[in-house]
């Protein structure tokens, strides 16, 4: 299980790019932290989610 925005999700083994695509995220509007560190967008396809990872996906919305 991977903890994604506080929820337990069976995403281990997937690449970050695949998970984000499946979950429907707009890559232009997000920032992703894995175990406390920001993940550069250029590496999304290389990062493989592991059991116990903690992922925070921030989806930005408009207004300011």
């Amino acid at each position: 299980m991977v903890t994604i925005n506080g929820k337990q999700i069976p995403a281990e083994g997937k690449t970050l790019a695949d998970y984000l695509a499946e979950a429907g995220y707009d890559l232009k509007r997000i920032a992703v932290e894995l175990n406390g560190d920001i993940v550069p967008k250029a590496t999304f396809a290389e990062v493989i989610l592991k059991e116990g990872d903690v992922l925070e996906i921030v989806s930005f919305v408009g207004g300011g």
Partner: protein, 218 residues
């Protein structure tokens, strides 16, 4: 017209309120504010009032009639660059505040030089894509700087939903996380100011050192 107080008189008034040690920390801090709209103009005023010593104001845009509903400008400033209009307004609150202005659009390319100086960076844009671009670029180029971002303050839902969360080591995000201006269509000063106040207070806490011994995420 009142006589402008001396720097010493203004410092003394802040020291009486905050104590010498906290005032010294605040007066030595440099904070960059990226975007001078509803978030940024209100953050700047809160930090100037708190006695933050140096603000770097960044925005490419001019004051527009559509800004008056929530941004800290006056009718007589319509058409002026926001950087210059806000600097003038801040000087009426804190005449000895050091202000640097950059009337440019923030891009992935100019972030490494534009934001090299400040210790703390406030993301205060209005477009979701611009927010994400800045946050990703700052966390990539400057992982040791503090970054405070505002996300989700449109509409007229309860201000109690707006909160401050620490995400990364040096990354703090304020807002309700979901209220999109594209969906709600409205932006009220009262709610945008609430989010700006969260951002400004997070900056004050960072400067005060309140986060230094906190390792757990909140």
């Amino acid at each position: 017209m009142a006589v402008i107080p001396s720097k010493q008189e203004l410092d003394d008034a802040l020291i009486a309120r905050h104590g010498a040690e906290l005032h010294a920390r605040l007066s030595q801090a440099t904070v960059a504010i990226c975007g001078l709209g509803g978030l940024g103009s209100n953050i700047a005023i809160a930090l100037a009032r708190a006695g933050v010593g140096h603000l770097h104001l960044i925005d490419f845009d001019r004051v527009d009639i559509s800004n008056l509903n929530r941004q800290q400008y006056f009718v007589r400033q319509l058409g002026l660059f926001k950087t210059e209009a806000l600097r003038d307004n801040l000087k009426e609150i804190a005449p000895y505040l050091q202000v640097t202005t950059s009337t440019v659009r923030v891009t992935e390319e100019n972030i490494p030089t534009l934001l090299a100086e400040p210790d703390i960076i406030c993301e205060a844009f209005d477009k979701a894509e611009a927010k994400a671009m800045l946050v990703n670029a700052v966390l990539k180029h400057f992982p040791d700087k503090w970054l405070v971002s505002g996300n989700g303050m449109a509409g007229k839902g309860s201000a109690n939903l707006i909160r401050t969360r620490r995400l990364g080591r040096h990354f703090i995000i304020c807002g309700d996380g979901v209220s999109d201006v594209e969906a709600s269509g409205t932006l009220f000063s009262a709610r945008v100011m609430a989010c700006a106040a969260h951002e400004a207070l997070a900056v004050i806490q960072i400067i005060a050192g309140d986060f230094e011994n906190v390792n757990i995420k909140e």
